[in-house]
Symmetry: C2
Subunit: 366 residues, 2 copies
Amino acid sequence: MKRRDLFKAAAAVAGTSALARPALAQSTPSITWRLASSYPKSLDTLYGACTVFSSAVSEATDGKFKIQVFAAGEIVPALQVADAVGAGTVEMGQTASYFYIGKDTAFAFGTALPWGLNSRQQSAWLYRAGGLDLLNEFYARHGLYGLPLGNTGTQMGGWFRREIRNRADLSGLKMRIGGLGGNVLQKLGVVPQQIGAGDIYPALEKGTIDAAEFVGPYDDEKLGLAKIAPYYHYPAFWEGGAELSLFISLAKWNELPSSYQSIVRTAAQATGHDMQARYDALNPQALRRVVAAGAQLKPLPLDVLKASYKISHDMYREMSEKNPSFKKIYDHQRAFQKDSQTWVAISDLNYDYLVSTAIQQKWEND
Amino acid sequence: MKRRDLFKAAAAVAGTSALARPALAQSTPSITWRLASSYPKSLDTLYGACTVFSSAVSEATDGKFKIQVFAAGEIVPALQVADAVGAGTVEMGQTASYFYIGKDTAFAFGTALPWGLNSRQQSAWLYRAGGLDLLNEFYARHGLYGLPLGNTGTQMGGWFRREIRNRADLSGLKMRIGGLGGNVLQKLGVVPQQIGAGDIYPALEKGTIDAAEFVGPYDDEKLGLAKIAPYYHYPAFWEGGAELSLFISLAKWNELPSSYQSIVRTAAQATGHDMQARYDALNPQALRRVVAAGAQLKPLPLDVLKASYKISHDMYREMSEKNPSFKKIYDHQRAFQKDSQTWVAISDLNYDYLVSTAIQQKWEND
């Protein structure tokens, strides 16, 4: 946790940029950084986490450490945030690390793997089981220092024009879904499509696509899909708990005074906690509204779930064979997951199940 | 979220103490506060949250805002922390608000109610659904400003010398359990006992008591009860997600510069996130160890769970009739819980159940 050594090491490094050098000279320098988000302002939970974070840093430093937040596309395209940060074009970026699996499949772990960790497990693994150290060892090779910046919780499986009753219903289905989730569904007959959020509605309306996944009720509601693709399947087994990442240029990070590094780490963790709380407060209300607007809640069929689990784990075996970085992190995370799930099953999962049952069956009247 | 107005208001208040007045004079004054914990150092997750918090505040202020942490009994007895903070004897305390239900039953909400919110729901309710504002309106009448400081997650129901197979097995059972959980179990025939943690082992060994609840595997392991009371029942329906509280003297809080207020709020939220992560990382390993040491994992019987749910809600009705503060907060929290649980059931609960099933049934081999 002590970054003073890193700071000293950084101070000793030749070629630190002239721009950042003042940070070394005093413990509370006035600096301004830029943070590029992969999300538009309209996604107020995701983009909003950036402003919560920058406010916390500014307030903690009496306005001396300013972080200017830019929405997707303003200064960096949505899917190039990690590249821009790694190159030092911007000092910071908020993004989903799994956008970059094309560079290296190990970028998946910072966000979510199909059938991977839930929100609390991801936090525990990252912060207290060695996960974040493993990721930063990997990120350093891309010029990045990473911190978790909040989780969405389990997402919805998406909107479908026709109900999915079994595995056969996926055959030939054109679905807006990316990443590893798309790879898994492809092996079940789905034809994954890459479509920007703004184009989902017309594509579904015209029938260019048959289904689309996005996030959960609160974000999905903005797309207005309940009327044109009313079957709202759950859960997104490919995003059981999707974590956002704060990427920081490793060179710039090393130049920060230790007090500012501490403020950034603490603010990122607090912001992460806040983002999950915000989703957990907003999703229940949004779920009621989308159901009122016509959404029909449907579980994904068991044969789809089981097949996707096997396909996912076959895929991880292949990726581990091809990529030692992937294997090293995967083995660590998978061992954690198995261990954790035994405890979850008798604690929170069991309790949540009982509370849901009690409310549904009105045990208070028995 | 802006505390500048509060700060201005505080600055205008007559009679601020001479000791704290320098805080008003400059934006980054050097001050030292004392934080009394209700927990001993041996409980390194609970007590440890205080040192994580004080380190974050110190690092963020370059050592100018020092918070000295004292374990239970060092300067304040464990169960008088809120009183000491309210009286201004110490500036801060870490405690469980439900220790103080003897003063006012509304103190229960800051920690947990039997059959109440889980960890993420408690955070969402407090931070993003208005819960914390309601609590602080109530705490202000006791001279306190409160912030959440981390959750344990769902706890274990405790250690029993004989297995509990049905409701009748609780009759006359002497059990170490306090608070509202004790009140509920009392109506099921249990004789609640107040015993310090250090006295649990000898009391169970001699048969002075028949059962004892504490926290979860990681903390419980230290008591070494697996051999003498091997039936380890779950879950603690009275602590589905127990939140710790950081209580701050309201008068001292109002005197803090806004940058320090912001640092305290952010550090408390980050610390809370860290404490849950720590429990989630440590409990799975500890569970394996206590099982290896002889613990037998047993669910609480359904008739006990159902009866306790009805008794709890009858109790809340009575408390609401007697105490308007309780009623106001209860109605708000209960509405949130019902709304939230509908969403939880199709998102995280559903996903967690599927992952547990998949791991147990080895779907990867199907």
